[in-house]
Point group: C2
């Protein structure tokens, strides 16, 4: 009886979340804003990856919403670099959800960040956590998972949902690989069992390796999303 | 109204959890079993740290309960090394709680792992997550937080609860420090603002540095806990 009630409550939370996420996605698609839900463990290099990607994105105008439990350190870093960025704090919650980000997303002044001829790419950096962020849609078009050779090669086996749901995987910190015993074949075997298709790009926030390719993939995904949505014309 | 009900449900969950955790702690203290709740982000080196610690603990007999969402890779590793270990899977949940571990803890055959003259140290490796594990007591005497120079120096500012609640902090992977720009002074400033007293030990799972000191600290903490509990006599 107790279990049944718990499940009903959880289903309701997910149902409400997903309805709001769909509304956010619909509204932003019509504004030619492509939303990337960036996920990954704490300290895996999510913010630094964004800085590299934003530096290499040419056809779209990038902007960021930063999700953190507390602090606005990453937003300060990004705005200091001239990147339009807003902070969302969860104050204890271990993941973003649609109600938390909807106001920030829908209130974002995308007019001020336009410039790229094909629209906007909005990165939403989720709370550092390899578990719950994968369960909650926040209105994104794709989920981008940042992982790292420093984490060890067994992560797809231990945290399967994040790897299963990823549309794009950045394998970061490859510059440290010579000092580690990361088993890339074992990592890829676990990842491919869950996710046969997502591009996996080896990156280094230190050297910049891989981020040019990742930026191209993101721009292609964004262009395709707008084509699929019947929005191939001029930015609204 | 909705918020009020949500808070009531959460309070009840925490209340039930804490009552059960207290029972587990009471029972194990009487058996001279000192329980260490090991927390840290995914891939931070929690299992490897346990292997190093267990190798250096002399006065107590070590054993392990492994918490993972899925898989039993770490339990296989530990039992392969002759360490008594049991697996608890959360199947989706991002942290252990007292109901999840109570059966495993209370059913553990501590008779089979005895040997150290002063009792048993039971390590419970939590799910890799720097957020929720800090919120749920699982019957532990202390929380041991494993963090790493690869995570970056801003983690105490972004994930304050785990750092605030830690009784012992292992700063792992210091062998990689020469290849990183980890700002240890900034890290320590953030940590000490939250937690003035917990010992912080620099460790390397690669070289073994620091784990001898960490093992000594754990043995002292265990001995003190049994003294405080009026259990300074022979193991029960």
């Amino acid at each position: 009886m107790h279990d049944t009630r718990t499940i009903a409550v959880m289903e309701d939370i997910h149902g409400e979340n997903d309805r709001l996420a769909e509304q956010v996605n619909h509204t932003l698609t019509h504004k030619r804003v492509f939303v990337v839900n960036e996920m990954g463990a704490p300290g895996i290099g999510k913010t630094t990856a964004l800085i590299h990607l934003i530096d290499r994105i040419t056809r779209f105008s990038p902007c960021v919403i930063e999700g953190d439990i507390e602090s606005d350190l990453d937003t300060q870093t990004l705005t200091g670099l001239g990147v339009p960025a807003r902070q969302v704090n969860t104050f204890g919650a271990c993941h973003l959800d649609a109600p938390l980000v909807a106001d920030a997303v829908l209130g974002f002044d995308f007019g001020a960040v336009r410039g790229g001829r094909d629209g906007v790419i909005l990165f939403i950096e989720n709370v550092g956590n390899l578990v719950c962020p994968a369960e909650f849609s926040i209105g994104e078009h794709i989920k981008m998972l940042v992982c790292s050779v420093t984490e060890g090669s067994d992560k797809p086996y231990k945290y399967p949902l994040a790897f299963e749901k990823a549309d794009l995987v950045l394998l970061n910190k490859v510059d440290l690989a010579p000092y580690l015993d990361f088993d890339e074949a074992f990592f890829m075997k676990g990842l491919r069992a869950l996710n046969p298709g997502a591009p996996v790009i080896r990156c280094s926030s230190k050297t910049g390796e891989g981020f040019g390719e990742a930026a191209s993939v993101l721009e292609s995904m964004a262009a395709t999303a707008f084509l699929d949505g019947g929005l191939a014309g001029d930015p609204a």
